[in-house]
């Protein structure tokens, strides 16, 4: 069974260690501007949302790529860019509704998560587990449990006189 990047914004503490670790792993430098993952923060209301490529089943980036440089890695299931083919037209950046692809501020190339060959560095560094890399069955169960928790809270409120 394939694994997925599972995002849980409620657990994110906004520390952005994922960004730093990502840039250090991929680019060998610390520079959040060149990270493939980003935490969008609304500081004054305390909202922290991880933004990263979701590796869609039907990737829009793949559809719009005029040189067919975007493919699925058979081993990890990651949607990856073949930089030998990529011409840097940035149509993937333009069309991805989840901001999963960006532009490298130094090289001008496309920046996109490749799941680090099956061991995402951001996940390794995310102690609060706002980013997880789990099998789909596990992802489903986690969502269900969370929904059930909310339902149970609601039930308790309704049943308490």
């Amino acid at each position: 069974m394939r694994k997925f990047l599972f995002l849980d914004p409620e657990k994110c503490t906004g520390c952005r260690i994922c960004e730093t670790a990502c840039s250090l792993h991929h680019e060998k430098v610390c520079n959040p501007a060149r990270a493939r993952v980003h935490i969008a923060k609304w500081e004054t209301s305390g909202l922290y949302i991880p933004v990263v490529c979701l590796h869609c089943e039907t990737p829009i980036c793949e559809e719009v790529c005029p040189v067919r440089a975007i493919k699925r890695d058979a081993k990890t299931g990651a949607v990856v860019i073949d930089y030998d083919l990529c011409v840097g037209c940035r149509l993937c950046v333009l069309y991805c509704p989840f901001a999963g692809a960006g532009i490298d501020t130094v090289t001008g190339k496309i920046l996109k998560c490749d799941l680090c060959d099956g061991d995402p560095v951001c996940v390794r560094f995310c102690d609060p587990r706002a980013l997880q890399y789990v099998k789909s069955s596990r992802a489903n169960m986690m969502k269900m449990r969370k929904a059930a928790e909310k339902f149970s809270e609601l039930m308790q409120k309704l049943l308490t006189p």
């Binding site: 409620e10 503490t13 730093t20 500081e43």
Partner: protein
């Protein structure tokens, strides 16, 4: 690598900016952050300069390892001659500003002169500009940051700002970034205000390169595992520093009603668990997995709605135990107010608690307070005094210059009730049962302060073999004992000086856990990041160099052994309540003096606390000031 990070000299009077490289020698001698800032302070500020004059200089510096993904490597140091104490002014701040400044190409800023009009410094990818801040003047610390972001159309701009308290030159005004992070102590916000400097804003997208990036990445992960493996860090990541309260209040180690009691009876509402009623989750500084503060919401009450972050253990004391307020909500409101206005939570609480005791004793009255009923537990009076201090109105203005000035104005034995050292308020911890803590606040180079040395591990009663190995000498495992505690304080002072200079978080070294990262781990991190190699002994010597230079600054400003003191009440009034271990305790004057002697000798200072020639030569300080940068 860090070598291409620069130092910039910004003259606010002429708006001229000069950039230069930071010589590698400086790194070898002082690392960065607090270390280099202390070198700059000693070299650039002339003796006896009026802290509020344009001749005082403000230094901002990020630690050598700032920006790496471990141990909260976000820490930024702000220094100047303190307008509160006249001694070393130095305060450390986390959050996201430090790394952003580094990504923008700079490690150190030296800010001189005074702007005619309100101004702010804008730093972006190697460029620096002094910009007009008229539209920001009068705004609170949160709004100021928002407006700067709007001005630049960039949500990722990070700023150090002052609030109205800094503008009004309240002597303990702080510097703030984000919702909660504050360079709280020694009045660095006041120095910014005196220069008409409202903010320093940064945005950077430049690579930070390393000697061995792969090994650094793996080692960072190892460091994070190491720190989160301690129970202390785990507890902190759930409740923040508030977790300390559960232990210290029960035992009887917390100043209550200023200094009358050492435990808050009926203080159950201040237990850390109660933050859950208001919390929507925790929040971390840059690259920190400990995330020791809560994001909280207050939906009801006269100040609602409030969305804020915190509170710290410090605020539980400042606006709880010390003023005898017993509700978590009081703390949450007060924490929000001091942060919004930009005044130090600890100094503010310490001063208000003192004023309440003076009011009780009849040393001040309604006429002096302008009708404010400063009764114990009067939260409305606390909120109003916070506002008055920040605005310099009414009785607040009497307190706004800090203890020394307020004592002079009030007179009448008020000094006896003031719980302060070198003009700066003590934390709300009651150090009478803990000689190590007491020595630490007395010797701290920046006035009464726990973050220069506090050896929280002293509280654990660890086996003496463990302490012997850690401190490399005999240390008693009984926290009420005086034996070996000088060694403990000396050692922690060196460790924290180095921690502040590499820019990692003090909570992620030997603060509350013996097996937390320290010398050898720091040494490896520095090696992987920069290729510089330091042995443990060399790092300790750097710590000694920094601490001794701070001592030299204070000596130059007229501070001597007699200033390494404790308030008289520590010697005269025994702790009235608490567990048997904490009850009936005073500090023994003779033993305290003996600790001080031993402490000086460990530093290589003479009986008067003056570094000996031999020490200065050994540390290479005998020719200071050397004006290398």
């Amino acid at each position: 690598m860090v070598w291409n990070r620069r130092i910039a000299y910004v003259d606010l009077s002429t708006r001229k900016v000069v950039q230069s490289d930071i010589p590698k020698t400086m790194r070898q001698l002082y690392l960065g952050g607090r270390g280099i800032d202390m070198y700059l302070l000693y070299n650039h500020v002339k003796p006896k300069v009026d802290p509020l004059s344009s001749e005082n200089t403000l230094f901002i510096g990020i630690g050598l390892l700032g920006g790496i993904p471990c141990l909260g490597a976000s820490r930024c140091d702000i220094a100047a001659r303190s307008p509160l104490t006249g001694a070393v002014g130095d305060s450390n701040i986390g959050g996201f500003f430090g790394p952003e400044l580094r990504f923008a190409g700079f490690d150190h800023l030296v800010i001189t002169g005074k702007s005619k009009e309100p101004a702010y410094i804008w730093v972006q990818d190697r460029e620096i500009e002094v910009k007009d801040a008229t539209h920001l003047w009068g705004k609170d610390t949160i709004e100021t940051q928002t407006v700067i972001r709007q001005d630049h159309g960039d949500d990722d701009v990070k700023s150090l700002v002052i609030g109205v308290a800094g503008e009004n030159m309240v002597r303990f005004a702080n510097v703030r970034t984000g919702l909660k992070n504050s360079a709280g102590r020694t009045g660095m916000g006041c120095v910014m205000g005196s220069k008409n400097l409202k903010a320093v804003a940064a945005r950077g997208t430049m690579d930070l390169e390393f000697a061995k990036p792969e090994r650094l990445l793996d080692y960072c992960k190892e460091m994070n595992d190491m720190i989160i493996g301690t129970r202390w860090a785990k507890a902190q990541s759930r409740w923040g520093t508030m977790i300390i309260f559960s232990n210290t209040n029960t035992t009887g180690l917390i100043r209550t009603k200023n200094f009358q009691l050492n435990r808050l009876e009926d203080g159950r509402d201040l237990e850390p668990e109660n933050i859950d009623r208001y919390s929507i989750g925790t929040s971390g500084c840059y690259g920190c997995i400990v995330h020791c503060r809560h994001r909280y919401v207050l939906e009801e009450g006269p100040y609602a709605p409030i969305f804020a972050e915190g509170p710290e253990y410090t605020s539980l004391g400042a606006f709880g135990t010390m003023v005898n307020c017993k509700k978590m909500e009081t703390i949450l409101v007060a924490n929000h107010l001091v942060n919004k206005y930009g005044i130090d939570t600890l100094e503010t609480g310490g001063l208000i608690a003192w004023a309440m005791e003076l009011y009780e004793k009849g040393i001040i009255n309604d006429k002096m307070t302008g009708g404010l009923k400063l009764n114990w537990g009067n939260e409305e009076a606390v909120f109003e005094l916070i506002r008055q201090i920040a605005a310099r109105e009414g009785f607040g203005n009497v307190l706004a210059n800090g203890f020394r000035d307020a004592i002079a104005k009030i007179g009448n034995n008020s000094a006896y009730y003031a719980i302060q050292v070198k003009g700066m308020s003590n934390l709300h911890s009651d150090e009478r049962p803990t000689p190590s803590f007491a020595l630490g606040i007395a010797t701290s180079t920046r006035g009464s302060d726990h973050l220069r040395s506090r050896p929280a591990v002293d509280m654990y009663g660890l086996p003496e073999e463990v302490l012997q190995e850690l401190y490399e000498g005999p240390v008693s495992s009984d926290y009420t004992s005086y034996d070996g505690k000088s060694r403990m304080i000396w050692w922690q002072e060196l460790l924290y000086a180095v921690t502040d200079s590499i820019g990692t978080c003090k909570f992620q070294t030997v603060f509350c856990a013996v097996h937390a990262p320290k010398w050898n781990e720091f040494s490896k991190l520095i090696q992987y990041a920069t290729d510089m190699r330091f042995t443990k002994t060399q790092l300790m010597q750097i710590g000694e160099r920094i601490y001794t230079l701070e001592r030299m600054f204070n000596l130059r400003e007229g501070f001597t052994r007699k200033d390494d003191r404790l308030p008289e009440r520590y010697f005269k009034e025994p702790t009235p309540i608490g567990f048997p271990i904490a009850k009936g305790k005073t500090i023994d004057r003779e033993k305290f003096e003996a600790m001080l002697d031993e402490y000086y000798s460990l530093h290589g200072w003479n009986k008067n606390g003056v570094p000996t020639k031999k020490t200065l030569t050994k540390l290479g300080l005998n020719k200071e000031p050397t004006h290398l940068i």
